[in-house]
Amino acid sequence: MNIRIALSLTGLLAALALHASTALPAKRPAGPVLLRGGEVHPVIGAVLPKADVLLMDGKIARIGPKLSAPAGAEVVDVTGQRIYPGFIIANTTLGLEEIGAVRASVDSSEYGPINPNVRAQAAFNPDSEMIPVARVNGVLTACATPVAANEGQPVPGLLAGTSSLMRLDGWTWEEMTLRPTVGLQLFWPAPVPAQRGPAPAPGALEETRKRYADQVKLIRQAFANARAYLRAKDAAGGHPAETDLRWEAMLPALRGEQPVFIHADDIKQIAAVLDWAREEPGLKLVLVGGRDAWRAADRLKAANIPVIIDGTTPLPARRDDGYDAVYANAGKLHAAGVKFCISESTNESGGPTNARNLPYEAAMAASYGLPADEALKAITIYPAEILGVAAELGSIEVGKRATLIVTDGDPLEIPTQVKQAYIDGARIDLRTRQTDLYDKYRQR
């Protein structure tokens, strides 16, 4: 990226941010809403062909036929329409990146290899134009995730930071935060160059192997230091002489309170992660990426490690892999009994620009072996479970957050429109920068 251009664009972007789309955050607290007569897809349990859903105090208060509307409730007739829980994108840089090629608008990775202490929440831009665009296809909750930096620094990122679970409505990141820290994000290094293109220069392979070994050593050191820090802190009655922000941030993971999300696509990385997992008992591990996870389905099942599949449409990793190797990944994990969910792949378009296509990523898996109801779960209740918020999100159940969508059809099919969306019981504005431009230029 040309620095000069980047700098000159900074000002422009600042201006653009002021002109964020006309969509307004929802008014809160929201009054009660009764969705009348919809086809309710609770995800857990059978479809209710015609039922009412009552949203009160941000929660789903009641579900059933012919509910009576409480005083002051807005009654919305959704006859002929369907109600689904909002989709959850489990691994995204939404809010952290605006324009991939404009460095000044990208805040998804920090300098250096070991950054467990940085939190996604801190840089989550509530006015990102990507957010309303994601919402129009039903993506209402996002786990904003720091990523490992690979360019412009001597050692690539390893512990990239801690992810934050965000609801996609609010004036500030604080209002939008559901969980400030969901889990550590560990990016497992690549044992050999991911691409097997032109022949490596003499010594390059050996160099790569050494670099890999060095990086794994850094990971081991970080966990060893953090464990030592934990012991020292416990020994000091919870008040260590000096605070180390990095190891402090790792304590929830070491105590097994929060998962460690390990990003690994290649089978060699996954095998290395499984080896490492035996060295670090007591950690709750989640595999992220998992392009080759189907090759290790039995091992993942045995180790009880869930997988966040980073999209179903990346290209097969190898020439000999079946053309549908990645499409069919989820179906194979499901068949093997591995816990999984599907996230949006960011492989080619880069960044979070098309988080909105999450339901179609799930549908692709359904086209290649995953049962359709599982595809729906893979972007609702399963990510909620893996992210540890299944008690609040991921299905239409009484007591859960009233974060849901109303559609005119199957949301996994592209032509289907999301007609309404509610986050914590408040109806959200579905206008976007894109609909604004559409409305503007339709006038021409």
């Binding site: 991939g100 192997r209 290209l315 053309y323 080619e348 894109q434 431009l437």
Partner: protein, 1084 residues
Amino acid sequence: MKFFPVRIAKQVAAWSLTLAAGFNLAGVAATRTTTTPVVGLRDASPRVHALVGGRIVMAPGKVIERGTLVLRDGVVAAVGPDVAVPADARVWDVTGCTLYPGFIESHSSLLLPEALRPPGATARAEGAERPRPAAPAMPVVGARAANPRIMPEKDVLNQLTPDPKGVEKFRALGFTVANIAPERGIFRGSSALVSLGTWDVNSSVVRAAADQEVVFEIGSYESFTYPTSLMGAIALIRQTLLDAQWYAATQAAYANHAGQGVERPEVNESLAALGPVVAGRQLAMFQLDDELDAARVLRLADEFKLKVALRGVGTEYRVRQELARAKVPVVIPLDFPEAPEVESPDRAVDVQLHELEQWDLAPSNAARLAEAGVTFAFTTSRLRKPETEFWPRLRRAVRRGLTEDQALAALTTVPAAIFGISATQGTLDVGHAGNVVVARGDLFKADDAVIELVWVDGDPYEQEAWQRLDLSGAWQVTWTGVKGPAELAISGRGGRLRVKAGEKSGSASQPDRRSVLMQLPAEVFGSASLTTSGSTSLTAGGSTGLTTGGTARLAASGEGDDLSGTGELPDGTSFRWTAHRSAAAKAEEPAATRDEPIATGDRYPAGAFGRKGPPAQPEHVLITHGTVWTSGPAGVIEDGDVLIERGRIVQVGRKLVAPAGALVIDARGKHVTAGIIDCHSHIAISRGVNEGGSAVSLEVRIGDVIDPTDISLYRDLAGGTTVLNILHGSANPMGGQNQVIKIRWGEDAEGLKFAGAKPGVKFALGENVVRAHSLAPVRTRYPVSRMGVPEIMHDVFNRAREYERTWADYRAGRSVLPPRRDLRLEAALEILNRDRIIHIHSYRSDEVLTFIRLADQLHLPVATFQHILEGYKVAPEIAKLGAGGSTFADWWAYKFEVYDGIPYNGALMARAGIVVSYNSDSADLSRRLNTEAAKAVKYGGVSPVNALDFVTINPARQLQIDQRVGSLEPGKAADFVIWNGSPLSTMAHPEQTWIDGRKYFDRDDDLRMRAEAAAERSALLQKALAERRKAVARGPAAESAGDSSDGGGPKPPGAATDDHDEYRAIYHNGADAHTCMQEEGGLQ
């Protein structure tokens, strides 16, 4: 003048014949005439030699079982079974040996000075030919080609640098002549054939200007020096050859008109040097990077009527039929890959089937070429250690079915013919150069065969093995001072001796010709106190002796059948011994005589998913009862039928009747659509999507560099895509010529091309073109702003019009000197004349409108605006121009100029009357454009039928191929897809994809191919494992012990190794981004 040395040689040859006939008994040795001053005393040693008693292979297939060869003053003076030994000859007893004509090394960097080697070449491993970054541009000095990589005027002749040690190494392998080739540049200059004796350079040159070396050498994208891509290199070669033709013509014309008001034309040493090449007189030796390059070279050769030969990489068998048809000779290497590391299952998945196949088949390359009738010669180049690797590998090629005669020819008569030196080299005919190889054992089959003598220009070069005591056999031993075994049996030859005393075995080596060192287990010796003198009365001791452990050392020297020497036991006791050979060793049987590969290599492309020939084209195909999306006026036909005859659609409707014998496809419950057309793709391109070396690169052609082996093609078929518009990238305002293809998977590059598709060209606006060189240390490339873009375009078009006038003037006789042909401007002129249509990468409305106004002014044929994410802002203007819009369904915000990209763009442009298509620009999206089309329904309310048009008939219209493809209508090609549901459904996928009435994809066939590939893979993995076990057991020690069975030596699994490059995937692995936005050099 260039061939002067050859003429001399011929004269000498004629003279020798006379000598042989008339004076062979009384010849007087003559000192060779050289211009080099004598230093000290002149060497006047006689140069008359008679090689007596050997088997003489005069030429492949021409053998004298026992005869005499006489060399006199550097040439063969006589040869035959009954030739008398001249009285003045030094006699060499070569009984038991075989004599061959001296071998010719077809490609070598011996004697090459630093200036003609690639930078850093001396630092590389000895003898290794590793891929390396191409040479950076050197500054241009002198009246020569403007491009620093064009240096045909270089000539190794005036740069040859003595290298006695290097020469000695190659001579030891039997090479007596080598073709020394320069190693820098695209046109690299002339090679020279040099004999590998010890004469001065002048006397050693066999032929100057043997060939002109040509290599598709490119700079990295970041070097910004033209060319940065293979297509650029080919375009530059094409332009340079045209320039050479022009240069000759214009110099000739000027010679006739000098002083008559004609301005003096330029002088150009490079173009002058190419004269013999374009006249077809000098051989052009093209170095291939992979076997796909062969077809590229042959097309150039055909276009310019060049005399060419190819230097291969070891995969030429994959294109052997094409090579045989073209009758082009090939120089092939013997750098067979080592068995891949497959011990770890998780790592082995990275080794692809085509790599395993290549590992298995590489030794068969020569045999397969021979079988197909391809003429080939061997080279040691690309071997890391030719001195230990060459012969074992050549023998391996022989075990794969190459005959001895074929192998010999590839070292003698074939290279002699390729390089035009058959008159003096390649056979042992009388009068030919005195280049002879004397070998003991079967050189082409037996691993213990050795070369004992090499003669270069009639001078003897004794090798280590010459007159080395052959120790093999049974020896009766007499011990003095120790009780030892009565008999020692020694087997092997040279560095690989085994010695056995009864059941115990020891090791032996020959430190020099006459000596032997042995180590035996001490237990074979009895008590030292016993002094014995009889060899038969005492037997070896064993546990009863003094020595129960350790190793006894023996040293001896010998003559004929007698050895005498000393020894020492572990306890320090010394002794003496003598031995007499009682029986000679039985001749060692050559190991396996035949070694067959497992892989058949009969698929194209090689590896998984390749085909064994085109799919059948049934006379008639009837699709019945499907939901037929015609993409034509008939719309969607429920319960519809499609009738196909010999690859064409003949009827579409309901209740069609199947002709007799028709293949009927029951499509009940299925959907049928036309094949999907991707109007923007960068897959299947070899070595560079962008020619980044110039802002204007209209002369480069994607059609020159189509890679039919890219697995992305097959993956596209599996997604229902049948036609691709393969475009140059977007680094340049005026990029390169595109190529429309049909994905006839399994065909070669020519077979993929969509014949008759309207020629096109890629232009580009916006960030990419103004930022293309943003990584360069200094931004020197115009333009760097959107203001400059239309200016450079306008300027090029102006020049093109002037170019047209220049030619018109010349043709009308208004000028004298022939104009230079300029392929760049000719392409621009084709555009101006509307014979070449423009596909222009564009985003922002301002730049689009500016270009529209330029197009208006120059009446440019604009077929499509590509990407055109702000097309909706200037839709009326685009519609008025008549251009199409080929856009993304929903990509946006990946860079600043697409922040206003909206998914409604397609619908809005369509509403304005623009023909709209959705494209991929990616190997991924190209596999699933059907669901991209569905986004037109979602965003903007396009009807499902019209939405599918976005990926079928509309791109066909944009590419002006809509009369042939794009819809299911009578008369069109039978390109169709059968889906298991609505093509717009995310839950649907293709079950079959047909092109020209041939089924190129079938999900069931695909699963079968996977099973076949898995089976072949398992077999090859087992074979590789077995070889790995052997090799790892042998260990690196094998190498130092002189074990020549394999060069570099295997590494145990997980050990540090760089050998991976041996399995370099020359095939696309399909994982590349393949987008014009995420291009090398940081273009986004």
